[in-house]
């Protein structure tokens, strides 16, 4: 029998539950730690950003209205799907020799489960019944901001990527994630698993490409409500300034952060009152 030819996978984008190529037709090469070719990856354009934001906006009302229980089930299902693909995912984590890829994947999955658990606790922990001096109730309810765009950490860490999307997802936001340009493979493979996790199309949209090119487009897009600058790097200040034009929430991690700070980053609190007894 003749030797099999390699079947190399070309990574595409994830927009509205589908896997299109970039509208521009561009791709770029991703290399491993030693500089050897790994895969061709789609290089998104600003029009792909526009489509991804449209998809996220379209999915927003449904995802935000889904019960906390359902959101938790879906995120947990995503973790289950990842669990059965642990080895494949670990193979895709590009990291310096010392870094333990399998541990990164295991932690990422555990982190997904952790966020899945938060879905029905956010309202209890960050909402409340406020004491008032009158014959009515007064409640504070955490509500999602809307569409959140996140820049994945450039290290390519899977845990870091899960943090940058799942925190926003579990509080009811829909997400557009721009992956690390040099290490996008593991995160994209994990994102692909949402296709079998009942995550509604458009709730999570994933782009690969040049943050230098797309960062400004994303940060200035008026229909994006929040910006996670975890992978914003030294351009973080510029991105934050562009984001300010349309009053976006921004989140930048600090050293030694309480992990729940992320959860609170993309929540709006609405306060409502209600008469007693009816």
């Amino acid at each position: 029998m003749s030797e099999r030819l390699d079947v190399k996978k070309t990574y595409k984008l994830l927009i509205k539950g589908q896997f299109p190529r970039s509208e521009s037709g561009r791709t770029y090469e991703v290399l491993d730690a030693r500089g050897a070719f790994l895969a061709n990856v789609a290089r998104a354009s600003r029009k792909d950003v526009r489509e991804a934001v449209l998809a996220a906006r379209g999915a927003q009302p449904g995802w935000s209205a889904a019960s906390a229980y359902l959101k938790g089930q879906i995120l947990y299902r995503w973790a289950e799907m990842a669990e059965s693909r642990r080895r494949d995912l670990a193979d895709l984590v590009i990291s310096p020799e010392t870094h333990d890829a399998e541990r990164d994947v295991a932690e990422a999955i555990d982190r997904l489960v952790w966020y899945a658990g938060w879905t029905d606790k956010v309202a209890q922990v960050y909402g409340g019944a406020n004491p008032v001096a009158g014959p009515y109730f007064n409640f504070s309810l955490p509500r999602p901001c809307g569409v959140v765009a996140s820049f994945a950490p450039p290290s390519g860490s899977l845990v870091g990527w899960v943090d940058s999307v799942a925190a926003a997802l579990c509080t009811g936001n829909t997400v557009l994630s721009l992956l690390s340009p040099s290490r996008p493979l593991a995160a994209f493979a994990l994102a692909e698993l949402t296709a079998t996790s009942d995550l509604p199309p458009g709730v999570l949209n994933v782009l690969t490409g040049d943050p230098g090119e797309l960062g400004e487009v994303i940060a200035r897009h008026e229909d994006v409500d929040g910006l996670d600058l975890t992978g914003g790097d030294e351009r973080g200040a510029d991105l934050a300034e562009w984001a300010a034009d349309s009053l976006k929430r921004t989140y930048r991690p600090h050293e030694g952060d309480d992990p729940t700070r992320r959860l609170r980053a993309f929540i709006d609190t609405t306060t409502v009152w209600h008469t007693v007894g009816y």
Partner: protein, 330 residues
């Protein structure tokens, strides 16, 4: 060169030869009319689809796009034809037609506001002195199935209330069963009832089955005195399509070359995006020429299209994608 700048050089513009004296043919009876319709050449459906596909690949960029967006905005008949229409809704639609983007006074106003006859008076009141016309559907819209006297009363009421433009529907049942003389006479009678108002004749192409029928209905309407031919009511599942648009534009072009009469075209229903609208403008420019790139001769019957045009316009100005909520809903 079209003065609207949609073509980059004068050689690209389609120039048609229109006789200086306008002469529409007369028909002695239905037999003559039917014979004239039978003499129209057939439509090459594959060729039309191919040409439409080819023209759809043209793209307009930067300053040309900006001008095209403004042209498209000025061609919109902002329309509300719901059973639940109220005077309040008409008032807000009129405000939007006058000043589509309150943040930017350079935004061109819409061409007209299109309502049911009973709301013409309200629309008229809100549009006085604005240059925005009041259009009204009439003749038992959208089915067109009422006795002629009822249709004419419908038209007369709308004109009486101050409509500048009347959008009538043809009786598709009569057309499809070959009673073309009846359709012709209806249009002639409605045209007379319109007095000074412009008459747009809705062919409801989604119900005409073939492109040959679209062409025949277009000629029939133009012979009978239509100022505009319009694709659809927006009330059936198939609305305006570029294919139908091309057939109608070619009919208008041939009619102008033959009779000297310039008839407008209105694409109605289902046009929601800037991209679609600009494709129609390319179609117009390449088929009948830049002369038709004016609200006097080309219109869009739409409501959601306007917000997309405004969003694209703003995006060209500020360089960032805009939030749809910037513009009022309808």
């Amino acid at each position: 060169m079209s003065e609207l700048g949609l073509t980059s050089s004068s050689t690209l513009e389609r120039v048609i030869r229109v006789p200086s004296v306008e002469r529409r043919p007369q028909f002695a009876d239905e037999v003559q009319l039917r014979r004239a319709l039978d003499h129209l050449s057939g439509v090459d459906a594959v060729g039309v689809a191919h040409r439409v596909g080819k023209l759809a690949t043209r793209s307009l960029k930067t300053s040309t796009k900006m001008r095209a967006i403004d042209v498209a905005l000025s061609m919109i008949d902002l329309t509300t034809l719901e059973g639940a229409d109220t005077p309040g809704r008409v008032a807000s639609l009129c405000a939007k037609a006058r000043r589509p983007d309150p943040e930017d006074p350079t935004t061109p106003a819409a061409a007209a506001v299109c309502v049911y006859p009973d709301l013409v008076e309200d629309a008229r009141r809100h549009l006085v002195g604005s240059g925005v016309a009041v259009a009204s559907v009439a003749t038992a819209f959208p089915s067109g199935r009422a006795p002629l006297a009822v249709k004419l009363a419908d038209v007369a009421a709308a004109v009486e209330a101050g409509a500048d433009e009347i959008d009538m529907v043809i009786d598709r049942g009569a057309f499809l069963s070959g009673r073309v003389g009846q359709v012709f006479d209806d249009i002639v009678a409605v045209k007379a009832a319109c007095r000074d108002a412009h008459l747009k004749v809705i062919l409801e192409t989604g119900e005409l089955v073939t492109l040959d029928n679209v062409k025949r209905a277009s000629w029939l309407a133009m012979w009978a005195g239509a100022d505009f031919i319009k694709t659809s009511t927006g009330k059936v599942s198939v609305n305006a399509t570029p294919t139908v648009g091309l057939v109608m534009l070619e009919a208008v072009r041939d009619f102008a070359e033959e009779t000297g009469a310039l008839v407008g075209v209105k694409m109605a229903g289902g046009i929601r995006t800037t991209k679609d609208a600009l494709r129609y403008l390319v179609l117009v420019n390449e088929t009948v020429g830049g002369r038709w790139l004016s609200p006097d001769l080309f219109r869009f019957g739409a409501s959601s299209l306007m917000n997309d045009l405004l969003a694209q316009r703003r995006k060209q100005q500020i360089g960032a994608y805009v939030r749809p909520e910037r513009f009022s809903g309808d």
